[in-house]
Protein backbone atom coordinates (compact mmCIF):
# COMPACT_ATOMS: atom_id res chain seq x y z
CA UNK A 1 0.00 0.00 0.00
CA UNK A 2 2.73 2.39 1.00
CA UNK A 3 4.69 1.53 -2.12
CA UNK A 4 1.72 2.17 -4.47
CA UNK A 5 1.09 5.56 -2.80
CA UNK A 6 4.76 6.38 -3.26
CA UNK A 7 4.69 5.35 -6.95
CA UNK A 8 1.53 7.40 -7.52
CA UNK A 9 3.09 10.43 -5.80
CA UNK A 10 6.25 9.99 -7.87
CA UNK A 11 4.25 9.76 -11.12
CA UNK A 12 2.33 12.93 -10.23
CA UNK A 13 5.54 14.75 -9.37
CA UNK A 14 7.23 13.50 -12.53
CA UNK A 15 4.37 14.52 -14.81
CA UNK A 16 4.24 17.93 -13.14
CA UNK A 17 7.99 18.25 -13.38
CA UNK A 18 8.04 17.73 -17.15
CA UNK A 19 5.06 19.99 -17.79
CA UNK A 20 6.57 23.33 -18.55
CA UNK A 21 5.27 26.54 -20.04
CA UNK A 22 7.77 28.56 -22.00
CA UNK A 23 6.93 32.05 -23.10
CA UNK A 24 8.13 35.28 -24.62
CA UNK A 25 6.70 38.75 -24.85
CA UNK A 26 9.24 39.84 -27.44
CA UNK A 27 8.47 37.61 -30.41
CA UNK A 28 8.32 39.07 -33.90
CA UNK A 29 5.76 38.85 -36.66
CA UNK A 30 6.52 40.44 -40.00
CA UNK A 31 4.36 40.68 -43.03
CA UNK A 32 5.41 41.31 -46.54
CA UNK A 33 3.31 42.17 -49.52
CA UNK A 34 4.78 42.30 -52.99
CA UNK A 35 2.86 44.68 -55.22
CA UNK A 36 3.41 46.36 -58.60
CA UNK A 37 3.40 49.87 -57.15
CA UNK A 38 5.44 49.24 -54.03
CA UNK A 39 6.33 46.44 -51.65
CA UNK A 40 4.81 46.76 -48.21
CA UNK A 41 6.59 45.45 -45.14
CA UNK A 42 5.80 45.80 -41.45
CA UNK A 43 7.18 44.32 -38.26
CA UNK A 44 5.79 43.78 -34.78
CA UNK A 45 8.40 43.13 -32.07
CA UNK A 46 6.14 42.61 -29.07
CA UNK A 47 4.42 39.33 -29.85
CA UNK A 48 3.39 37.24 -26.87
CA UNK A 49 3.75 33.47 -27.28
CA UNK A 50 3.25 30.66 -24.76
CA UNK A 51 4.04 27.01 -25.41
CA UNK A 52 3.04 24.25 -23.05
CA UNK A 53 5.69 21.66 -23.85
CA UNK A 54 3.71 18.93 -22.08
CA UNK A 55 0.51 19.28 -24.11
CA UNK A 56 1.84 21.10 -27.18
CA UNK A 57 -0.64 23.94 -26.72
CA UNK A 58 0.56 27.13 -28.38
CA UNK A 59 -0.88 30.61 -27.88
CA UNK A 60 0.13 33.70 -29.83
CA UNK A 61 -1.13 37.20 -29.38
CA UNK A 62 -0.25 40.31 -31.33
CA UNK A 63 -1.43 43.91 -31.11
CA UNK A 64 -2.34 45.33 -34.51
CA UNK A 65 -1.16 48.84 -33.67
CA UNK A 66 2.23 47.34 -32.80
CA UNK A 67 3.12 46.92 -36.50
CA UNK A 68 5.75 49.40 -37.63
CA UNK A 69 5.95 50.55 -41.24
CA UNK A 70 8.62 52.50 -43.02
CA UNK A 71 6.09 55.12 -44.11
CA UNK A 72 3.67 56.84 -41.77
CA UNK A 73 0.84 56.97 -44.29
CA UNK A 74 0.98 53.21 -44.85
CA UNK A 75 0.77 52.65 -41.10
CA UNK A 76 -2.23 54.97 -40.80
CA UNK A 77 -4.05 53.30 -43.71
CA UNK A 78 -3.25 49.86 -42.29
CA UNK A 79 -4.73 50.72 -38.89
CA UNK A 80 -7.66 52.82 -40.03
CA UNK A 81 -8.82 51.39 -43.37
CA UNK A 82 -7.65 47.79 -43.50
CA UNK A 83 -7.37 46.02 -40.14
CA UNK A 84 -9.45 48.59 -38.19
CA UNK A 85 -7.21 48.47 -35.14
CA UNK A 86 -9.56 50.42 -32.87
CA UNK A 87 -12.35 47.90 -33.48
CA UNK A 88 -10.15 44.79 -33.55
CA UNK A 89 -7.03 45.66 -31.52
CA UNK A 90 -5.38 42.24 -31.57
CA UNK A 91 -4.96 39.03 -33.51
CA UNK A 92 -4.61 35.72 -31.68
CA UNK A 93 -3.78 32.15 -32.51
CA UNK A 94 -4.59 29.17 -30.30
CA UNK A 95 -3.46 25.77 -31.49
CA UNK A 96 -1.72 22.49 -30.86
CA UNK A 97 1.64 21.25 -32.03
CA UNK A 98 0.83 18.01 -33.87
CA UNK A 99 2.61 14.86 -32.65
CA UNK A 100 4.01 16.79 -29.73
CA UNK A 101 5.20 13.57 -28.06
CA UNK A 102 7.93 13.03 -30.64
CA UNK A 103 9.64 16.27 -29.63
CA UNK A 104 12.38 15.82 -27.04
CA UNK A 105 12.13 19.17 -25.28
CA UNK A 106 14.99 18.30 -22.97
CA UNK A 107 17.54 17.80 -25.78
CA UNK A 108 18.90 20.04 -28.49
CA UNK A 109 17.44 19.35 -31.91
CA UNK A 110 15.26 20.68 -34.65
CA UNK A 111 11.88 19.47 -35.85
CA UNK A 112 9.54 20.22 -38.73
CA UNK A 113 6.24 20.82 -37.01
CA UNK A 114 2.65 21.35 -37.99
CA UNK A 115 0.46 23.48 -35.78
CA UNK A 116 -3.31 23.29 -36.10
CA UNK A 117 -5.64 25.75 -34.50
CA UNK A 118 -7.81 28.82 -34.71
CA UNK A 119 -6.71 32.24 -35.79
CA UNK A 120 -8.75 35.26 -34.77
CA UNK A 121 -8.07 38.33 -36.81
CA UNK A 122 -10.22 41.30 -37.87
CA UNK A 123 -13.26 39.81 -36.14
CA UNK A 124 -13.01 36.52 -38.07
CA UNK A 125 -12.19 33.18 -36.49
CA UNK A 126 -10.71 30.66 -38.90
CA UNK A 127 -9.24 27.16 -38.62
CA UNK A 128 -5.68 27.17 -39.86
CA UNK A 129 -2.83 24.71 -40.27
CA UNK A 130 0.66 26.13 -40.34
CA UNK A 131 3.91 24.34 -41.04
CA UNK A 132 6.99 25.59 -39.29
CA UNK A 133 10.11 24.64 -37.45
CA UNK A 134 10.81 24.12 -33.78
CA UNK A 135 14.42 24.28 -32.66
CA UNK A 136 15.48 23.29 -29.15
CA UNK A 137 18.75 24.94 -28.12
CA UNK A 138 20.02 24.83 -24.53
CA UNK A 139 16.51 24.12 -23.25
CA UNK A 140 15.00 27.08 -25.10
CA UNK A 141 12.36 26.37 -27.76
CA UNK A 142 12.48 28.59 -30.83
CA UNK A 143 9.54 28.63 -33.22
CA UNK A 144 9.66 29.86 -36.81
CA UNK A 145 6.99 29.76 -39.47
CA UNK A 146 6.19 31.46 -42.72
CA UNK A 147 2.82 31.24 -44.43
CA UNK A 148 0.59 33.12 -46.87
CA UNK A 149 -2.46 34.90 -45.52
CA UNK A 150 -5.32 35.74 -47.87
CA UNK A 151 -6.81 39.11 -46.86
CA UNK A 152 -10.25 38.12 -48.15
CA UNK A 153 -10.37 35.21 -45.64
CA UNK A 154 -10.43 37.79 -42.87
CA UNK A 155 -12.82 40.20 -44.57
CA UNK A 156 -10.17 42.78 -45.28
CA UNK A 157 -11.29 44.61 -48.37
CA UNK A 158 -8.97 46.56 -50.61
CA UNK A 159 -10.51 49.70 -52.13
CA UNK A 160 -11.12 49.22 -55.88
CA UNK A 161 -8.99 52.28 -56.68
CA UNK A 162 -5.83 50.51 -55.48
CA UNK A 163 -7.00 46.91 -55.86
CA UNK A 164 -4.58 46.15 -58.69
CA UNK A 165 -1.69 47.80 -56.84
CA UNK A 166 -1.96 45.86 -53.59
CA UNK A 167 -1.48 42.14 -53.26
CA UNK A 168 -4.48 40.09 -52.11
CA UNK A 169 -2.17 37.77 -50.17
CA UNK A 170 0.52 38.74 -47.70
CA UNK A 171 3.40 36.61 -46.48
CA UNK A 172 3.49 36.33 -42.70
CA UNK A 173 6.66 35.30 -40.88
CA UNK A 174 6.75 34.39 -37.19
CA UNK A 175 9.84 34.12 -35.01
CA UNK A 176 9.50 33.43 -31.28
CA UNK A 177 12.33 32.51 -28.92
CA UNK A 178 10.50 31.28 -25.84
CA UNK A 179 13.30 31.84 -23.35
CA UNK A 180 11.20 32.48 -20.24
CA UNK A 181 9.66 29.80 -18.07
CA UNK A 182 6.48 30.33 -16.13
CA UNK A 183 7.04 29.83 -12.43
Amino acid sequence: MKISVFILAFCLWASHGFAQKNYTKGGTVTFYSKAPLENIEAVNKTVTAILDTHTGTLLLSVLMRGFEFEKALMQEHFNENYVESDKYPKATFTGMVQDNNRIAYTKDGSYDVTVKGKMQFHGVSKDVEVKGMLVMAKGVPQLTASFPLALADYKITIPSLVADKISQTVKVTVLCVLDNVLP
Binding site: K25, K45, T46, T48, I50, L63, G66, P89, K90
Partner: protein, 173 residues
Protein backbone atom coordinates in the same frame (compact mmCIF):
# COMPACT_ATOMS: atom_id res chain seq x y z
CA UNK B 1 -17.59 120.41 -98.04
CA UNK B 2 -14.53 121.02 -96.03
CA UNK B 3 -11.34 119.60 -97.39
CA UNK B 4 -8.67 117.88 -95.18
CA UNK B 5 -11.26 116.70 -92.82
CA UNK B 6 -12.15 113.14 -92.77
CA UNK B 7 -15.79 112.85 -92.84
CA UNK B 8 -16.98 110.26 -90.56
CA UNK B 9 -20.19 108.63 -91.13
CA UNK B 10 -22.65 109.14 -88.42
CA UNK B 11 -22.62 106.23 -85.99
CA UNK B 12 -19.05 105.06 -86.91
CA UNK B 13 -17.65 106.59 -83.72
CA UNK B 14 -20.02 104.50 -81.73
CA UNK B 15 -18.95 101.44 -83.69
CA UNK B 16 -15.28 102.18 -82.87
CA UNK B 17 -16.14 102.47 -79.23
CA UNK B 18 -18.02 99.24 -79.43
CA UNK B 19 -15.01 97.55 -81.08
CA UNK B 20 -12.68 98.99 -78.48
CA UNK B 21 -14.94 97.69 -75.75
CA UNK B 22 -15.10 94.33 -77.48
CA UNK B 23 -11.30 94.17 -77.72
CA UNK B 24 -11.00 95.31 -74.10
CA UNK B 25 -13.33 92.62 -72.84
CA UNK B 26 -11.52 90.08 -75.04
CA UNK B 27 -8.22 91.12 -73.47
CA UNK B 28 -9.74 91.02 -70.03
CA UNK B 29 -11.07 87.55 -70.77
CA UNK B 30 -7.63 86.48 -71.96
CA UNK B 31 -5.98 87.83 -68.82
CA UNK B 32 -8.65 86.18 -66.73
CA UNK B 33 -8.12 82.83 -68.44
CA UNK B 34 -4.34 83.02 -68.22
CA UNK B 35 -4.42 83.94 -64.52
CA UNK B 36 -6.87 81.11 -63.96
CA UNK B 37 -4.49 78.77 -65.76
CA UNK B 38 -1.60 79.97 -63.59
CA UNK B 39 -3.64 79.41 -60.43
CA UNK B 40 -4.67 75.98 -61.68
CA UNK B 41 -1.06 75.00 -62.45
CA UNK B 42 0.07 76.34 -59.06
CA UNK B 43 -2.66 74.39 -57.27
CA UNK B 44 -1.71 71.30 -59.25
CA UNK B 45 1.99 71.70 -58.40
CA UNK B 46 1.19 72.21 -54.71
CA UNK B 47 -1.18 69.21 -54.73
CA UNK B 48 1.41 66.96 -56.40
CA UNK B 49 4.12 68.19 -54.03
CA UNK B 50 1.84 67.68 -51.01
CA UNK B 51 0.82 64.22 -52.24
CA UNK B 52 4.46 63.25 -52.77
CA UNK B 53 5.50 64.56 -49.35
CA UNK B 54 2.54 62.87 -47.68
CA UNK B 55 3.20 59.59 -49.46
CA UNK B 56 6.82 59.57 -48.36
CA UNK B 57 6.17 60.93 -44.87
CA UNK B 58 8.26 59.11 -42.27
CA UNK B 59 6.84 58.23 -38.87
CA UNK B 60 7.22 60.92 -36.20
CA UNK B 61 10.78 61.47 -34.97
CA UNK B 62 10.39 60.30 -31.38
CA UNK B 63 13.70 61.69 -30.14
CA UNK B 64 12.73 65.31 -30.91
CA UNK B 65 8.98 65.09 -30.33
CA UNK B 66 7.30 66.54 -27.26
CA UNK B 67 5.52 63.86 -25.24
CA UNK B 68 1.74 64.06 -24.70
CA UNK B 69 1.99 62.54 -21.21
CA UNK B 70 4.65 62.06 -18.54
CA UNK B 71 4.00 59.17 -16.18
CA UNK B 72 5.70 56.57 -13.97
CA UNK B 73 5.56 52.92 -15.10
CA UNK B 74 3.63 51.66 -12.07
CA UNK B 75 1.02 54.43 -12.32
CA UNK B 76 0.45 53.68 -15.99
CA UNK B 77 -0.05 49.99 -15.20
CA UNK B 78 -2.46 50.91 -12.38
CA UNK B 79 -4.53 53.08 -14.72
CA UNK B 80 -4.86 50.22 -17.20
CA UNK B 81 -5.63 47.68 -14.49
CA UNK B 82 -8.35 49.95 -13.08
CA UNK B 83 -10.07 50.65 -16.39
CA UNK B 84 -8.37 49.35 -19.50
CA UNK B 85 -10.94 50.77 -21.93
CA UNK B 86 -10.74 54.31 -20.54
CA UNK B 87 -6.96 54.25 -20.27
CA UNK B 88 -6.78 52.85 -23.81
CA UNK B 89 -8.84 55.76 -25.13
CA UNK B 90 -6.68 58.24 -23.29
CA UNK B 91 -3.26 56.93 -24.22
CA UNK B 92 -3.45 54.85 -27.43
CA UNK B 93 -1.36 56.29 -30.26
CA UNK B 94 0.01 59.01 -27.95
CA UNK B 95 3.63 59.72 -27.19
CA UNK B 96 4.47 58.94 -23.57
CA UNK B 97 7.45 59.81 -21.45
CA UNK B 98 7.77 56.95 -18.97
CA UNK B 99 10.13 56.50 -16.07
CA UNK B 100 10.63 53.29 -14.13
CA UNK B 101 12.84 50.36 -13.28
CA UNK B 102 13.98 47.75 -15.80
CA UNK B 103 12.45 44.45 -14.77
CA UNK B 104 13.66 42.58 -17.80
CA UNK B 105 15.91 43.34 -20.76
CA UNK B 106 15.51 41.01 -23.73
CA UNK B 107 17.86 41.15 -26.70
CA UNK B 108 16.65 39.44 -29.87
CA UNK B 109 18.94 39.74 -32.85
CA UNK B 110 19.61 43.44 -33.30
CA UNK B 111 16.45 44.48 -31.46
CA UNK B 112 15.68 44.66 -27.77
CA UNK B 113 12.70 45.10 -25.48
CA UNK B 114 12.49 46.43 -21.94
CA UNK B 115 9.90 45.42 -19.36
CA UNK B 116 9.34 48.11 -16.74
CA UNK B 117 7.42 47.75 -13.52
CA UNK B 118 7.46 46.19 -10.12
CA UNK B 119 9.12 42.77 -9.83
CA UNK B 120 6.35 41.74 -7.44
CA UNK B 121 3.74 42.11 -10.18
CA UNK B 122 3.55 40.13 -13.44
CA UNK B 123 2.16 43.21 -15.22
CA UNK B 124 4.57 45.55 -16.93
CA UNK B 125 5.13 48.34 -19.39
CA UNK B 126 6.67 46.52 -22.34
CA UNK B 127 8.81 48.79 -24.49
CA UNK B 128 10.06 47.81 -27.93
CA UNK B 129 13.14 49.89 -28.63
CA UNK B 130 13.37 51.99 -31.77
CA UNK B 131 15.74 50.62 -34.42
CA UNK B 132 18.06 53.58 -33.77
CA UNK B 133 18.63 52.48 -30.16
CA UNK B 134 21.35 50.34 -28.61
CA UNK B 135 21.00 48.57 -25.25
CA UNK B 136 24.40 50.04 -24.29
CA UNK B 137 24.78 50.10 -20.52
CA UNK B 138 21.15 49.35 -19.76
CA UNK B 139 20.73 46.56 -17.24
CA UNK B 140 18.01 44.91 -15.24
CA UNK B 141 17.23 46.69 -11.98
CA UNK B 142 18.42 50.07 -13.24
CA UNK B 143 16.26 53.14 -13.54
CA UNK B 144 15.37 54.33 -17.02
CA UNK B 145 13.43 57.11 -18.70
CA UNK B 146 12.19 56.69 -22.23
CA UNK B 147 9.76 57.99 -24.80
CA UNK B 148 7.53 55.75 -26.87
CA UNK B 149 4.19 55.50 -28.64
CA UNK B 150 1.56 53.55 -26.73
CA UNK B 151 0.04 50.94 -29.03
CA UNK B 152 -2.28 49.16 -26.59
CA UNK B 153 -2.43 46.57 -23.86
CA UNK B 154 -2.18 42.84 -24.04
CA UNK B 155 -2.11 39.97 -21.63
CA UNK B 156 -3.89 37.23 -19.79
CA UNK B 157 -4.17 35.61 -16.37
CA UNK B 158 -0.99 33.60 -16.92
CA UNK B 159 1.39 36.32 -18.06
CA UNK B 160 -0.17 39.38 -16.50
CA UNK B 161 -1.00 42.62 -18.17
CA UNK B 162 1.31 44.48 -20.54
CA UNK B 163 0.97 48.06 -21.62
CA UNK B 164 2.93 48.18 -24.86
CA UNK B 165 5.04 51.07 -26.12
CA UNK B 166 6.62 51.06 -29.56
CA UNK B 167 9.60 52.84 -31.10
CA UNK B 168 11.02 53.63 -27.68
CA UNK B 169 13.90 56.05 -27.42
CA UNK B 170 15.94 55.99 -24.21
CA UNK B 171 16.41 59.48 -22.85
CA UNK B 172 18.93 58.52 -20.16
CA UNK B 173 21.59 55.87 -20.58
Amino acid sequence: MIQGHKITKPGSHKRHMKNDMKNGSKNKKKTYISSLAIVFVLVLVVAVWYGFEEYNRKPQNIADAKPDFKIADTLLIKEFEANAAEAGKKYTNRLLFVSGYIKKLEKKGGAFTLSLGSAANMSSVLCAADSTQQPGLLKEGAQVTLKGVLVGFNGDDLLGFDVILNRCVITNK
